[in-house]
Each structure stands twice: as C-alpha cells, then as structure tokens.
C-alpha cells in the first residue's frame, strides 16, 4: 500500500464488524438490523426483526437492488430517507461483503460513522458547500440564514432523513432543528438538500401581496385545496420540489406559511 496511514475505509469496516459482533441481538443502523450470523452477517429491515417469512437474499449486489427503489417501485435519490423496503434478509459472507452491502444501503455511512466515533469526521457547513456551487445551483449562496434553518428542518429531520446533520449554516451558526438519534452522521449538505435550497432561494425572491402571501404560496394553497376536495394529494416524487404535493415542500410550507395563516389579522 502506498498510503501513509492505514486506509480509513479498512479501519471503518473492522470497527463496524467488531461493534456488530459485540451485540448478541444485533445493531440498529439506520433502518437496518445488522447481526453476526454463523458464517458472516445478516441484515434485514429493523421492522422485520422477528419475522421468519422473509425473502432470503445474498451478497452486496442484492443490497444495491434493495436500496434503489421503494416498496412501491419509486426511485430513492436519498438512501437515508426512512423508506427502505421490507420483506427480505440479506446474507453476506464476511466483513468486506458487509461493508460493500452497507455502502449500497447507506453510501459512505460506514466511514462517516467510524470517523465520528474517532472524533475525526470533517464537517463542511452550508455556506462553504453553497459557495462551491455553479450553474443552476449558484444561486443557493443567496439563501438567507433563516432560509437555511427552515430548509434544514423541512428536509433533514428524522421524518424525512435518518442522518444526523453535524453541519450548520456556518461554523458559528448551528442548525436549530431536532437532529435525531440515528447512528449515521451527515457531515455536509447533500445534493438533494442543495436542490431543495435552490427552490427555497427562489421562494425568497418572491414579493408578497396585500394579504402577505407570495405567488407560489397562493398557487400551492389553491392546488392543495383542489386536491383535498378531489380526495387525493397531487403526486410528486421525492426530489420534485417544484410541485405543491412534494413532501419536503409541504413541510416547508407548514413551517413558514401555516403560522402566518393562523395569525389573527391586525386591524
């Protein structure tokens, strides 16, 4: 090996295997239950802990297929969204296969988990990540501090992402959100978050009408009332932030619009 240090990925894989082996009932990691088995390791959905009727799968490539889509067949651009499919058990032969499988189920999470425990995980805050963006994402550097805070609450809380953000607006401005108790740290805003931040930056540019609403707020309210009347929410994919029915967009509206709607009008 040409490295000065031992590769961090190798240290992480060993530390994780030890951590798993040290527990008889297995360890929770995101939505996974990871256990030492006779020869190798066994992974399954945490909610399938006691079940016997699971589809037996083997090897890292099967982990990739599990991670790619939801139960309903939808694309999963963010692997720590709490929508991991159920109904399977995965056998992997050894520590290396375990690491490879985990890197499909929760990419890079293993090494981040290890580095955080060792107190060596570098954190990149929003302002730095935003400052690096180019092309259509260049505008995210203009997002206000409050905008970053609201976006993080809408985008990163446990209801929508199981990672624990370690990053803040900048080094001196931590996030004001419930980071969650998950095992997996988030050292830097992810690409989906940057895309969401772009949407929120566009919202921040809008003017308000006499009743204090922006044009997109009005459009969303109209679309949602109509949808509710019709009996179904307009469909939007996880990363489709331009649509009123997008979960994270709705969460943002719940945080920033609903309190204003509930406020009694001043005379």
């Amino acid at each position: 090996m040409s490295g000065a240090d031992r590769p961090v990925a190798a240290a992480a894989r060993e530390a994780f295997a030890e951590w798993v082996a040290a527990s008889r009932e297995g360890r929770r990691f995101g939505q996974l239950l990871v256990r030492r088995a006779e020869d190798g390791y066994e992974l399954r959905h945490l909610a399938d802990a006691g079940r016997e009727d699971l589809r037996p799968l083997a090897g890292p490539a099967a982990a990739r297929e599990i991670a790619r889509t939801t139960e309903g067949g939808e694309h999963r651009p963010l692997k720590t969204s709490p929508n991991l499919r159920r109904g399977w058990t995965l056998r992997v032969e050894d520590e290396r296969e375990l690491a490879a499988a985990l890197n499909y189920l929760y990419p890079a999470a293993l090494v981040h988990w290890h580095l955080e425990r060792a107190g060596r995980l570098p954190v990149t805050h929003y302002r730095e990540t935003a400052g690096r963006q180019s092309g259509i994402y260049e505008i995210v550097r203009n997002l206000s501090d409050e905008g970053v805070q609201a976006a993080a609450r809408a985008h990163c809380e446990d209801e929508v992402c199981l990672k624990r953000p370690l990053w803040g607006v900048d080094a001196g401005t931590p996030l004001k959100m419930e980071p969650g108790e998950g095992e997996i740290p988030c050292p830097e805003p992810c690409s989906l978050f940057i895309s969401f931040a772009r949407q929120i930056t566009l919202f921040e540019r809008e003017g308000r009408d006499a009743s204090g609403l922006t044009a997109s707020e009005r459009r969303d309210l109209a679309a949602l009332v109509e949808a509710a009347a019709a009996g179904e929410l307009p469909p939007a994919r996880e990363g489709e932030f331009s649509l009123p029915g997008n979960r994270r967009r709705l969460r943002y509206r719940a945080l920033t619009l609903v309190p204003r709607l509930r406020e009694p009008l001043a005379d």
């Binding site: 961090v8 890197n103 890079a108 293993l110 090494v111 580095l115 180019s134 690409s191």
Partner: protein, 251 residues
C-alpha cells in the same frame, strides 16, 4: 491495491440515470481486474465528495461515465472529487488518476456499432440502403457535445459497414427529425449517443420521430430505434480500457 471509481450524473427523479453505471461497475468487478470498483454520482449517493473515503486502495482510477468533455468533466467532477489534474496525490496517501470522458475514445465507435448490430439482429436489412444515424443532444453552449458525435460518425463511416452515416441533434442543426425524414435509405438505424435512458430517449424522441416501437415500418423506410449506447454491456469494456490507458501515465 488499485480501485476503479466510475462517476455518473445520477438523478433526483429517475432511477434510469444511475442504472448503467451500477451495471458497468458490476461487470468490471466480475472481471477481477481491480481490487475495488466503486460508483459515485453528482445527484445520488455516494457523492463525489465522499466516495474516495470509502475506497481502501492507494491507487485510484476515476473514469467519468460522460460522453463529451464539458462542464461536468472539466469543472464539477474535479471540484467535487478534489482533483488537481490528471494525477492527484491526496494527503491520505491515495494517488488518484483522472480519465477524460468516454466519447472521444477509439473504442466508442465499436460500442456504437455493437449497439446497432444488437438492435437490428434478426431483421432483414437487405433491399434498400442502410443508414446509421447518431443522435446527440447538442447545445449552443458546448461545441464538444456535438463534436464527439461528428467524430464518431467519421470513424464509423471509414469502416464502411453502413451505406450512410449521419448525425442528428435534439437542440441544434441538423435536427434529428429532418435527418431521419430526408435520409435516402430503406433502413435507418438511430442510435442515441447518451449515457443513460431519460426523458428524451424514452419520451420526446420516439414521439418526435413518430415511432411505434423498436422497429417502425413506414412506406418508404424502416426505422430501428433502441436504448442509448451508454446502456450497452460493451460500455463496460470501454470504461475499463479508458482506465487501462490512464494507467500508462503512471509510467
């Protein structure tokens, strides 16, 4: 130990974008040429920012699954991976070698021809001239994007496998619809020179060309249209060859 890292664009919306990258990685992994083969993406996980930390090898070859040189290969990928050029020595001891995009590589013409052969296999192409049309995205901003399509058309023309080899674009002249309409051939094989399936290859192109499936018979010609070249299994060989060539710069 040596590792191969394939960089894909990925998508926040569709699973089609990353699929070929996973599949090519799996093929190369099975060949045993590398101790590790990892995938990473601009819009999916692992991100380019984190992938190198997941790799144990000290010698890392990075191949972008992109057709042409441009914004991604020159700006986004080097920035996100923290690369300094063709060779980067990282503080953690890793040496990272960065390859150019796939489209200009000699083998690309072979992959396109293989894709075309698969598409027309089992069909009788006798009677009438046979034309191959390379379909590119094209854009006013990036000369390289169309350049790579012309380059491959030229290379394929030299081989003399098709009577005619033409190019057509979505976003610039000559437009694909006009090219396919006017080409003087009884059999027209249209190959999208894209890395993955997407909205254009699945929806807009078949619609614009009024296709009824993989094979569309019209009074004057038969049109063959299928998955983009980037999804073909032979693309894995091209990626591996690209990395092998890069290994030569190590000296």
């Amino acid at each position: 130990m040596k590792a191969l890292v394939i960089v894909g664009h990925g998508s926040h919306l569709n699973a089609d974008s990353s699929l070929p990258v996973y599949e090519h990685a799996e093929r190369i992994r099975a060949s045993g040429e590398y101790d590790e083969v990892a995938e990473c993406f601009w819009k999916e996980e692992p991100s380019m920012r984190h992938v190198l930390d997941t790799v144990e090898a000290g010698e890392v070859y990075v191949v972008p699954a992109f057709i042409s040189e441009g914004y991604f290969t020159q700006q986004v990928i080097p920035r996100e991976l923290g690369l300094e050029g063709e060779v980067t020595h990282r503080p953690d001891g890793k040496t990272v070698y960065y390859a150019g995009p796939l489209g200009t590589f000699e083998l690309m013409a072979d992959v396109i021809l293989e894709r075309a052969a698969d598409l027309t296999a089992g069909h009788d192409l006798s009677g009438g001239r046979r034309a191959l049309v390379l379909l590119g995205h094209g854009t006013d901003r990036n000369q390289n994007s169309s350049g790579v399509i012309y380059l491959n058309a030229g290379r394929i023309r030299e081989r003399g496998v098709y009577d005619l080899v033409e190019v057509g674009f979505l976003d610039q002249e000559p437009e694909i619809v006009d090219v396919v309409e006017n080409i003087p051939a009884g059999h027209v094989v249209v190959i999208p020179v894209f890395v993955a399936e997407g909205w254009h290859t699945k929806e807009t192109i078949p619609e614009d060309l009024e296709l009824t499936g993989e094979v569309t018979r019209r009074p004057d010609k038969t049109i063959y249209y299928g998955a983009p070249v980037g999804t073909h299994p032979a693309m894995a060989d091209l990626i591996a060859a690209r990395a092998r060539e890069l290994a030569l710069v190590r000296g």
